[in-house]
C-alpha cells in the first residue's frame, strides 16, 4: 500500500524532472527572451519562438471560460437554490454524460456544427471571410467541454453554504435573488473563483478537440476570426517529426513543461482555496 502510494506521488515529480532536463537543452542554445517573446517558429533554422502558441493558448482558454463561466454560474445557482428536485434529477445525468463524452467527439461536433456556423453565420455578420477554423470556434467548443466540469464543482461548493445564513436574510425581507446576490455569492466567492480556475486549467490542456477546430497557424492571432495554434495542439501535431530536426524534441518537451507547470500552479491555488472554504464552514 505504501509502495503504490509513493508510486502515485513520485510519478509527477519524475515527470517534471524528466521534462525539465529535456527542455534545458533548448535553454542552453537559445536565450530565454528569444524563446518566450519572439514569434519566429522555424525549427529547421533553429528558431523556436513560443509566443504565438502561448498567446493562442491564453486567448482560447480565456474565451472559453468567458463563455462557459456565466452560464455555469447561473445554472448552478438555479439548480441549488430554485430548481425543483425533478429538474435536478434530470440535469445531474445530463451533466455526467456531457462530462463523459470524449474530447474527440466534441471535436467531431465542432467540425460538423460550430465550424460551419462560424463561417456561414457569425463571420458574415462582421463581413469577414473565414473557413471557420478559428479562435472563436475553438473557444465555443472548449466552453462546451469545460461546462460540465465547472458546473459540477460549482454545485458542490454552493451546496456547502449553510442554509441558516440565507434563511436569516430571507426573514429580514430580502427576495431570494437578493439572498443569492448578497449572501450566497459573497460567501462562495473564493469557491466560484477556484471553480473557474480549475476550468481554466482544464481548457488550457485540452488537446484533440482544439487541434481539430482551431486552425493551427503559427501566428499571433489578431482577432476572434483568426486561426490559433495552442500549445497542446503543437505537441500533438509535431511529435512525428520531432526526432528528425535537432532541438525540436526539446522544444516540444518545453511546450509540455509549460503546460505542466502552469496547470499545476493554477490547480494548486484553486484547490487550496476550495479546501479552505470547505473547512471554514
Amino acid at each position: 500500500m505504501i509502495v503504490t502510494l509513493s508510486l502515485v506521488i513520485l510519478t509527477p515529480i519524475v515527470m517534471c524532472i524528466c521534462l525539465s532536463v529535456k527542455s534545458s537543452l533548448l535553454f542552453e542554445s537559445l536565450p530565454v527572451g528569444k524563446i518566450f517573446f519572439t514569434s519566429a517558429w522555424e525549427p529547421s533554422k533553429g528558431n523556436f519562438g513560443f509566443l504565438p502558441f502561448i498567446l493562442s493558448s491564453i486567448f482560447i482558454t480565456f474565451l472559453a471560460v468567458l463563455i462557459a463561466g456565466p452560464v455555469c454560474l447561473f445554472s448552478a445557482l438555479y439548480l441549488t437554490q430554485y430548481a425543483r428536485v425533478r429538474l435536478v434529477r434530470i440535469m445531474q445525468p445530463v451533466i455526467d454524460i456531457l462530462a463523459g463524452i470524449p474530447s474527440v467527439v466534441y471535436g467531431v461536433w465542432g467540425i460538423i456544427v460550430i465550424v460551419p456556423f462560424v463561417s456561414n453565420v457569425v463571420a458574415p455578420l462582421f463581413h469577414i471571410q473565414t473557413t471557420g477554423y478559428t479562435l472563436i470556434a475553438g473557444g465555443i467548443v472548449l466552453a462546451v467541454m469545460i461546462t460540465p466540469f465547472i458546473l459540477n464543482i460549482l454545485i458542490e461548493i454552493l451546496r456547502t453554504i449553510p442554509s441558516e445564513l440565507s434563511e436569516a436574510t430571507l426573514s429580514l425581507g430580502a427576495t431570494k435573488w437578493e439572498v443569492i446576490k448578497h449572501v450566497i455569492v459573497r460567501k462562495a466567492k473564493p469557491g466560484i473563483v477556484s471553480a473557474f480556475g480549475l476550468g481554466v486549467s482544464r481548457a488550457f490542456g485540452e488537446t484533440i478537440a482544439v487541434l481539430m477546430v482551431a486552425g493551427n497557424v503559427a501566428k499571433i492571432p489578431g482577432g476572434l476570426f483568426d486561426p490559433v495554434y495552442p500549445l497542446p495542439a503543437l505537441i500533438a501535431n509535431n511529435y512525428g517529426e520531432m526526432m528528425s530536426i535537432p532541438l525540436y524534441d526539446s522544444a516540444l518537451m518545453m511546450a509540455a513543461l509549460i503546460l505542466f507547470v502552469s496547470i499545476l500552479v493554477f490547480n494548486f491555488f484553486s484547490r487550496i482555496s476550495i479546501y479552505h472554504l470547505e473547512r471554514n464552514l
Binding site: 500500500m1 508510486l7 434530470i90 470524449p102 488550457f204
Partner: protein, 286 residues
C-alpha cells in the same frame, strides 16, 4: 417600499437568465447527441463494426474499424486493470491507515486533486521521451501504462470519495473485534463501498477509452488487430481523428460512424455506472 417593484423585477430577470442557462446546457447536450446520431446512423453499417480496414481504406476503400474498436477495448481494459492495482491499495491506505493523520490525509488528497488536472498530452509526451530514451517503439503496452498513470488519480479520488462516507462506527466495531487494519481495509471498507468502487472503475474506463492525446504518441496506429502487447494498436479516438481530417467524403462519413460507436460505448458505461450506484445504494450499512 418604493423600490419593491424594482426588486421583484430584478429577481424575475435573473430567474429568467438562470433558467435560460439551464436550458442552454440541456439544448447543447441534445444538439451534440442529435448531431452525432444524425451523421452517424446513415454512415453506420455492419461492415464498419465487424471488419478491419482493407486495401485503400483511407481513400474510401472497403473495410471497417474493428481494429480500432478492439484496440481501444484492449487498451482501456489493460489500463483500467493496472490503474486498479495502483489505486485500490492507495485509496484504502489513505482512508484506513491514515485515518488519524488528518493533515497528511488532506495533503495527499490535495496532491492527487492537483494531479487530476494534468492534461493527457503531457503524460503522452513524457512517456514518449522515456520510450525514445530506451529505444522502444509505440506499442499496446506503452499505451496501457501511460493511460494507467493518467487515469490513476481519477480512480483514486473517486474511490476515496466513496470510502470517505464509511461511518466511523464500522471502523471502531471492526477494530474492537480484533481485526487488523489490512482486514478492515479489504473486508469492511472495500465490501461496504463496492458499488462506489465499480462506479469509479467505470468512470476511469470511460476516460481511458475516450482519451486520444496520450495514446497518440505511445500506442501508434495500425490496421491490424494487435496480437501481443508489444505491437502497436489502433484506438477509436485516433481512428476518428485521422479519418475526419481526410479530404475524401466517404472516409469522413466513416469517422461519423466511429464517433457514434464511441459515444454509444461511453453512454452505456455511464448508464451502467448510474444503475449500479442507484441499485446498491440501499444495501449499505449506514
Amino acid at each position: 417600499m418604493k423600490n419593491s417593484k424594482y426588486r421583484k423585477n430584478e429577481e424575475k430577470i435573473f430567474i429568467m437568465l438562470m433558467q435560460a442557462s439551464c436550458g442552454i446546457i440541456l439544448l447543447i447536450m441534445g444538439l451534440i447527441l442529435l448531431t452525432i446520431l444524425r451523421k452517424g446512423i446513415p454512415a453506420f453499417s455492419w461492415e464498419i463494426l465487424t471488419s478491419v480496414p482493407k486495401g485503400g481504406f483511407y481513400f474510401g476503400g472497403e473495410g471497417g474499424i474493428l481494429n480500432a474498436i478492439i484496440g481501444s477495448i484492449y487498451l482501456a481494459m489493460g489500463a483500467t486493470f493496472i490503474a486498479l492495482i495502483i489505486s485500490l491499495p492507495t485509496a484504502l491506505f489513505l482512508n484506513v491507515h491514515l485515518r488519524k493523520y488528518r493533515k497528511l490525509q488532506n495533503a495527499i488528497r490535495l496532491f492527487i486533486d492537483i494531479l487530476w488536472g494534468i492534461p493527457s498530452v503531457v503524460y503522452g509526451s513524457f512517456a514518449f521521451t522515456i520510450m525514445i530514451y530506451f529505444g522502444l517503439r509505440a506499442s499496446l503496452i506503452a499505451g496501457i501504462l501511460t493511460v494507467a498513470v493518467f487515469i490513476a488519480p481519477i480512480m483514486i479520488r473517486s474511490m476515496d470519495e466513496t470510502l470517505k462516507t464509511v461511518p466511523l462506527i464500522l471502523y471502531e466495531a471492526a477494530t474492537s473485534l480484533g481485526s487488523t487494519k489490512f482486514e478492515i481495509s479489504y473486508k469492511v471498507f472495500f465490501k461496504q463501498c463496492i458499488p462506489g468502487m465499480v462506479t469509479a472503475i467505470l468512470l476511469s474506463f470511460g476516460r481511458a477509452i475516450g482519451d486520444a492525446a496520450s495514446v497518440l504518441f505511445t500506442t501508434g496506429f495500425t490496421d491490424n488487430i494487435p496480437k501481443s502487447l508489444t505491437q502497436p494498436a489502433a484506438t477509436l479516438p485516433l481512428s476518428i481523428f485521422f479519418q475526419l481530417t481526410s479530404p475524401i467524403p466517404e472516409v469522413r462519413e466513416r469517422a461519423y460512424a466511429a464517433a457514434l460507436i464511441l459515444t454509444i460505448i461511453i453512454l452505456l458505461i455511464s448508464i451502467t455506472g448510474r444503475g449500479i450506484s442507484l441499485r446498491y445504494m440501499n444495501n449499505q450499512i449506514k
